[in-house]
């Protein structure tokens, strides 16, 4: 979604979901190349009728400039994760290997911990979490997915 970069736009959208009982599974927002617009990627769920109604309700908000349902076409989704793990003794090697397999990066190191950065489809992030041995995870921070449609056409004004 392209949304007017105005105070209140985010709460209108969040408010719509809570008032009408729709789910927000994740929501990412940031400025775009055009200063007056923000771009949001919102993940929601529901049957076709519900999703159709969600789109209509979002389009009705004055602050929503343009909306695209990525699920309708071929698209790319990426999410970023920072994960802090306990890394001592033999676990250090094991975690390093895991990081390589997943093409992740270790971006902070202490005697007892690593911070690993990993970007990819949400499923890949889930898989990494699953692969970390029991009890080693200290903290997980995920951005929620952002997405873009494949091909030459863009979501612009």
């Amino acid at each position: 979604m392209l949304v007017e970069n105005e105070a209140g736009a985010l709460s209108r959208i969040a408010g719509l979901f809570s008032a009408r009982g729709y789910n927000i599974e994740s929501l990412t927002v940031a400025a775009t190349d055009e200063a007056s617009l923000s771009r949001m990627t919102l993940v929601t769920s529901g049957n076709d009728d519900i999703v159709e109604q969600i789109k209509k309700q979002l389009n009705k908000l004055i602050d929503v400039v343009k909306l695209q349902d990525l699920a309708e076409g071929e698209h790319i989704e990426r999410e970023m994760m920072l994960i802090k793990v306990k890394a001592a003794g033999p676990d250090r090697e094991e975690l390093k290997r895991l990081t390589e397999i997943f093409r992740a990066k270790i971006i902070d190191v202490t005697d007892a911990s690593y911070i690993v950065e990993l970007t990819g489809a949400s499923r890949k992030l889930d898989a990494f979490i699953g692969a970390v041995p029991e009890g080693l995870i200290t903290e997980v921070v995920r951005s929620g997915p952002t997405g873009i449609l494949r091909g030459a056409k863009g979501l612009t004004l």
Partner: protein, 596 residues
């Protein structure tokens, strides 16, 4: 602007600059309303709007301010004015409690899609967020019950924001817009050149101007193929002033038509093609026709739960055509086969011309059989009541009101049984005559709404039908009526109960009347008199007509008519929860009544 002048003046620009007076924010707020053509502002002063009130004072009579006695009254009055005139209603209230008092009226307007611009004062920008005196997050509180709202943080944005507010409120599917203005933005000592922007372009807001012709053609074909068609119209037909083309289309086709509570009057209710209201307290014939139809033509209606009954049983045999200016109304509650997004007036007009061009006629044999069936349903006489009762029946009171006013009346209503009786027994032949809170069902709406109606139509007969519980919710507005000499007639159907609540308790809670008896009622006659009005009471059926005639003959007086009605009467027919249109409860027959 200034650098432009330094470069060498463009004659047009200089002329414009000369026309741009220096105004403060407070003056801009008032000037913008004047430029918008606003006739009345309904308001109540307070700290955060004092600069604006001062600017208003200085402009003398350029704009008329109506001082209400509670901000809820301001919003309902502006709302009644809007419903009766088709113009935008305007309110001005202070921050904090002024704004919160206005919320009920804003929500009322929102659910019925009524255009309002509500200007609220706010604490000065530097202290926003500090829990300052009379600070509430007005934009936050009103967000879910407005079409849009604005917090104006910069003086430079004020004129354009007010212009946008009026545009958004009145275009597309109308609705209330709140403009929250911090006090420092209205500072009388800070002035900027003022120009009211005429042309607006809001990139994210483009309401449909016309319906899709291909879809409209499809709809006309479906109508011509139909064997058992019916029109179902809603508030959208009134709001878009579609009454004339709608009436022409329905007559050209010869189809039956029913209406929601909000659409009454868009098609003349005394016409034989009109089947009465549909839904929970609709007529038997309208609801049965909905159940049996094979082609439902929904015009500016939104398939509200009070209309559809249980969705699973709704119009089981019908192909549904739905015309609405708001795409999100379409296929929200009921899936439709022919959606048409557009202003209903223009779409109905397009339907008419396509129908005429096609030269097609509906299947007359099928239509005759359909009417025969409908007339049989009509024969059930679903709204019969005991006409020989020694007590005044509320239905009789409404029938008498119709007789006394010759059907020429603006009637506002509160919420409850009296509202349903009015909708059932007062046939409106014109739109914008029946003014009630359908969506939110706000008790207290009727009296202040009538003030707005009377101000919008100073020479018309205006009445408010109410219940003894509802009327007390905005009774303070009798003072406003006195101050502005508004000759409204209040017709109180006094049954001593929150009748609609009592009815539900009788039907669904084995007559356990929990707190629905309205004890400790005031003497309404004396109460009206104490406000400087005329008060009258009637208890006998045979005195009702003459009392009403006497009341309406007092053309320049506000009259409060306390009509004591049968406390045990119920609204029939009724579709109970979980039932379909074909499963109505009809009024008990005389013998059943005696048994009970």
């Amino acid at each position: 602007m200034q650098s432009h002048l330094a470069d060498g003046p463009d004659p047009n620009e200089t002329a414009m600059a000369a026309e741009r007076p220096l105004l403060s924010g407070a003056e801009i707020a008032i000037q913008a309303l004047i430029d918008e053509g606003v006739e009345y502002v309904f308001g109540y002063p307070g700290g955060a709007v004092l600069h604006i009130y001062d600017a208003l004072f200085q402009r003398g009579d350029a704009i008329k301010h109506v001082l209400v006695r509670h901000e809820q009254g301001a919003t309902h009055a502006a709302d009644g004015y809007a419903r009766a005139t088709g113009k935008c209603g305007v309110c001005l209230v202070t921050s904090g409690p002024g704004a919160t008092n206005a919320v009920t009226g804003i929500a009322t307007a929102h659910l019925d899609s009524i255009p309002l611009v509500v200007i609220t004062g706010q604490v000065p920008t530097p202290v926003i967020g500090s829990d300052a005196f009379q600070e509430v997050d007005t934009v936050g509180i009103t967000r879910p019950c407005v079409k849009h709202n604005f917090l104006v943080k910069r003086l430079e944005d004020l004129a354009e924001t007010i212009r946008k507010a009026f545009y958004i409120a009145q275009s597309g599917r109308p609705g209330p817009v709140v403009v929250d203005i911090p006090k420092d933005v209205t500072d009388p000592n800070v002035k900027i050149p003022y120009v009211y922007p005429r042309d607006l372009n809001i990139r994210s807001y483009n309401p449909a101007k016309r319906g899709h012709l291909g879809q409209i053609r499809k709809a006309v074909e479906a109508m011509l193929d139909a064997k058992r068609p019916i029109f179902y119209t809603g508030g959208g037909a009134v709001l878009d002033d579609a009454a004339a083309p709608l009436t022409e289309l329905v007559r050209a086709l010869g189809f039956p038509i029913t209406s929601t509570l909000m659409g009454l009057g868009a098609y003349p209710m005394t016409d034989k093609q009109f089947l009465g209201m549909l839904g929970m307290h609709g007529t038997y014939e309208a609801n049965m026709a909905m159940h049996e139809t094979d082609c439902l033509i929904a015009i500016g209606a939104r398939f509200d739960d009070r209309v559809t009954g249980k969705i699973e049983h709704f119009c089981p045999h019908a192909e549904i055509i739905h015309v609405d200016v708001d795409p999100s109304s379409i296929s929200k509650n009921v899936k439709v086969q022919v959606p048409i997004v557009g202003p209903v007036g223009s779409v109905v007009t397009d339907m008419l011309s396509i129908l005429r061009e096609s030269g097609g006629r509906p299947d007359q044999t099928a239509l005759a059989a359909w009417w025969e069936q409908i007339d049989a349903w009509r024969g059930i006489d679903c709204m019969r009541y005991d006409r020989s009762s020694p007590m005044i029946k509320p239905q009789f009171a409404v029938e008498t009101l119709y007789k006394v006013t010759n059907g020429d009346l603006y009637l506002t209503s509160d919420v409850g049984q009296h509202q349903m009786f009015a909708a059932q027994f007062y046939p409106f032949d014109k739109p914008r005559r029946w003014i009630n809170s359908g969506g939110l069902g706000t008790m207290g709406f009727g009296l202040p709404a009538a003030m707005g109606v009377q101000l919008g139509h100073p020479d018309a007969q205006v009445a408010c039908i109410s219940g003894e519980a509802s009327i007390l919710m905005c009774i303070q507005e009798m003072a406003t009526c006195k101050q502005y000499s508004l000759p409204i007639k209040v017709v109180l159907l006094n049954n001593g109960y929150m009748g609609m609540v009592r009815q539900w308790q009788e039907f669904f809670y084995e007559s356990r009347y929990a707190h629905s008896y309205v004890d400790a009622l005031p003497d309404f006659v004396a109460l009206a008199q104490s406000f400087g009005h005329v008060g009258m009471r009637v208890e006998q059926p045979d005195q009702l007509e003459s009392a009403m005639r006497e009341a309406f003959a007092m053309k320049d007086r506000f009259v409060f008519l306390d009509v004591i009605v049968d406390p045990s009467e119920n609204v029939y027919p009724m579709i109970c929860a979980g039932k379909g249109h074909h499963e109505m409860e009809l009024p008990p027959t005389m013998s059943e009544r005696e048994l009970a």
